[in-house]
């Protein structure tokens, strides 16, 4: 099966130009606005400057663009100055999306978008093909080998957008789900704990402030009540407020207002801070109750389903085969309550938005498997969802103990300027506690840095099983991440100049959809030899497995 090179449809250039022009519209409108409309009267100039070159460019691009089918895959050639030859193996092609808008229909053509699992831009955008050519394309690419992949790609969250003209017939999944007892049900008590643990209170305050600002901007804030409060504050001032609190204070608290001077001030400041903290935490608890009320995790034959929330009420499907990474985290507060949190990173081809140029990349989401769960059940839950990931059963390997010195030194150097500044302030200022003895500060900082670094290095480590790599880190909290070899994409080993001097290296395992922040497999401070060994092992384990969505 080896064909001659095929060109795009001869009416491709207007569509290609349309893409370019669309990209230019924003700057052009910007220029028109910047010129205060003067440019608008010179539309002829604008069109000569932008439209004509775009058309010429599009025509040239159409001339050089071609594709052909070879034994192993689709080969697309394009590029005017920089020539590019792209090979896409048939096995890797998930879908050939044909997108048509009314203009396409009028001319009897279609845009074809070739989709694979690769992140980022569409793998190939054939703009535009005749319908016969598009059918050919689908026949060639979506035949034998790719059938399995195509079936597999029809994830639950993906229904082709209606405007897509001819579509891949979605494998109709009968909604016969066999629900069993929920894997996890989070009681309200635990959500309150979660509110205490995670500091979402500020989020609520920020939202309230934002809304408040918005309201004032809309002049809604001038309601009688706020006017009263504002006027009262204007009249009485903060002293008035203080007086009114003092007169209303109960007897047992009156001593606060009687004792004088510094102590009282300090106490009041502390009380205010404490109050703020309490209020923030209460907000945080309320937020979590609203957001995650009744969190239930079900397992059925389609995957996992999480249902939660008063507002918005969410029911989300977690396709188990798309879980790329799982993280169990326990901060200090988590540990005080004997709880942990589990989150997942899933990734999948998002070919739902099929605007013509719409990127068919991969969307990544980090979502809760369990917002909060008893520590002793956390690892069992992970095992239930991903049987290979047996966190308790693995043998943890340490990172290099030599790292303590490096981390402590680095922290000390980073903190030194501010430490010296504070020590100087203590030493040369008239406030209490001053004097030369303030020089204790640097030594305390140094030893603290050392202790923290030692603790971190002690608890940080990695583990390799037959099918999973795990990494844990943290000094008072602990986070454990696991990636199945099937989901690992590439492996890298990095060495900074400092690493090289100490013969150390760090290892990163790249997965799909690893966007944003979060704990992942990034093992630092390994001995070079050990790191090479891990890399080889990972590579050997992975090369025989096939990655599928």
């Amino acid at each position: 099966m080896r064909t001659e090179a095929r060109r795009l449809h001869r009416w491709s250039w207007p569509f290609l130009a349309a893409g370019t022009i669309r990209a230019l519209i924003v700057p052009v409108v910007g220029a028109v606005v910047a010129s205060r409309g003067v440019l608008l009267s010179r539309l002829d100039l604008l069109s000569v400057l932008f439209v004509v070159p775009a058309l010429v460019l599009a025509f040239m691009r159409q001339r050089v663009y071609n594709y052909r089918f070879t034994d192993s895959g689709l080969v697309v050639r394009n590029g005017l100055l920089t020539k590019n030859v792209r090979h896409i193996a048939y096995e890797r092609i998930h879908n050939v999306a044909l997108v048509r808008n009314p203009i396409h229909r009028m001319l009897g053509v279609t845009t074809a978008r070739i989709e694979t699992a690769a992140g980022g831009k569409p793998e190939a955008l054939l703009r535009v093909l005749s319908l016969e050519a598009a059918e050919d394309l689908r026949r060639y690419t979506l035949s034998e080998a790719s059938e399995a992949a195509a079936l597999d790609s029809s994830g639950p969250a993906e229904a082709e957008a209606p405007e897509a003209g001819t579509q891949e017939p979605e494998t109709a999944r009968a909604e016969t789900t066999t629900e069993t007892a929920p894997l996890l049900q989070v009681p309200d008590r635990d959500l309150l704990r979660l509110g205490l643990i995670s500091n979402r209170g500020l989020l609520v305050v920020a939202a309230a402030l934002g809304v408040g600002a918005q309201m004032r901007w809309l002049e809604f804030a001038r309601t009688p009540r706020t006017i009263v409060v504002q006027d009262w504050l204007n009249d009485q001032g903060w002293r008035g407020l203080y007086e009114s609190i003092r007169t209303r204070a109960p007897d047992w608290a009156s001593w606060v207002f009687e004792s004088g001077g510094l102590i009282r001030a300090l106490f009041l400041v502390l009380a205010a801070l404490l109050l703020l903290l309490v209020v923030l935490r209460v907000f945080s608890m309320a937020w979590h109750l609203v957001r995650y009320r009744g969190f239930t995790l079900h397992q059925n034959n389609q995957g996992l389903r999480a249902e939660y929330g008063l507002w918005p009420a969410v029911s989300s499907l977690i396709p188990v085969h798309r879980i790329q990474l799982v993280t169990v985290s326990a901060s200090l507060l988590h540990r005080w309550f004997g709880r942990a949190s589990i989150d997942l990173e899933t990734a999948g081809a998002t070919d739902t938005k099929s605007g013509i140029g719409g990127a068919a990349g991969t969307a990544s989401t980090r979502q809760w498997l369990a917002p909060i769960i008893e520590t002793n059940r956390a690892h069992a839950l992970v095992r239930e969802v991903l049987p290979e990931v047996d966190i308790d059963g693995v043998e943890w390997m340490p990172i290099e103990a030599r790292a303590v010195r490096r981390i402590a030194t680095r922290t000390a150097i980073a903190l030194m300027p501010i430490t010296v500044a504070i020590a100087a302030l203590f030493t040369f200022s008239p406030i209490p506690l001053s004097g030369w003895h303030a020089l204790w500060l640097p030594s305390v900082v140094l030893s603290m840095a050392w202790l923290v670094a030692r603790q971190w290095v002690r608890r940080t480590g990695y583990a390799l099983t037959e099918s999973v790599i795990l990494f844990r880190s943290g000094w008072i909290g602990l986070q454990i991440s696991a990636v199945r070899f099937v989901n690992a994409q590439t492996f890298s080993m990095s060495q900074s100049p400092f690493d090289r001097r100490k013969r150390m290296a760090s290892i990163v395992v790249d997965t799909a959809g690893a966007g944003g922040s979060g704990h992942r497999i990034r093992i630092p401070y390994l001995d070079v030899e050990v790191a090479e060994g891990i890399l080889r092992r990972l590579y050997n384990e992975t090369r025989g497995t096939e990655f599928r969505w």
Partner: protein, 191 residues
């Protein structure tokens, strides 16, 4: 092209297991580290000089105009020229030396079932890509590269940080063969 003669391209390497299994071109997947084409140093130098030189020329011309129109006293002109030279000499030196340093530290290794790249002058990095994770490959050739018959191979995976891994400065023919090699053979469907 005698530069190229000196370089050990995979074509000259000994045969290995890949040959025994007969799945891939035996000379490419030899499992040995290779440098890229030495001509890439020249290409990189030309490319960066093409950027640096116009900037330098424009600055020099403006400076000279300032002096020639009498707006600037000669000692001032010479002083500024000296400072300019002092600032620009390292830049020129760097554009000359850096491509060579980068070339020295860039190695690739083709395995029967994957590709390894080692790079970085100060911050070193080794990337291992199993073929089973390659989604598609690009072989690109810019105008300058075309002149020297070089190409850039880009391997796309479903990963995030390693979504597109580029290997710059291969001989174009090798880049194409490598791109062929890195395609999943139907036989790898072991799962």
């Amino acid at each position: 092209m005698d530069d190229r003669e000196k370089a050990a391209t995979p074509g000259q390497a000994k045969e290995n297991e890949g040959a025994k299994l007969g799945t891939v071109a035996p000379t490419l997947a030899d499992g040995e580290e290779h440098p890229v084409d030495p001509l890439t140093v020249r290409v990189a130098r030309i490319a960066s000089f093409l950027v640096i030189l116009p900037i330098a020329m424009i600055q020099l011309i403006f400076l000279t105009i300032g002096w020639a129109t009498g707006g600037m006293a000669p000692p001032l002109y010479l002083g500024i020229l000296g400072v300019w030279l002092m600032l620009f000499a390292p830049v020129f030196l760097l554009t000359y030396r850096w491509p060579a340093a980068r070339y020295r530290h860039l190695r690739y290794q083709v395995e029967e079932d994957g590709l390894r790249i080692r790079r970085g002058v100060f911050w070193r990095k080794a990337i291992w890509v199993p073929i089973t994770r390659v989604q598609h490959t690009d072989v690109a050739q810019g105008p300058l590269q075309r002149r020297y018959d070089l190409g850039t191979l880009t391997v796309h995976t479903a990963g995030t940080a390693g979504a597109a891994i580029s290997l710059d400065g291969l001989e174009h023919g090798i880049a194409s063969r490598l791109s062929d090699h890195l395609r999943p053979a139907p036989a790898t469907y072991a799962n």
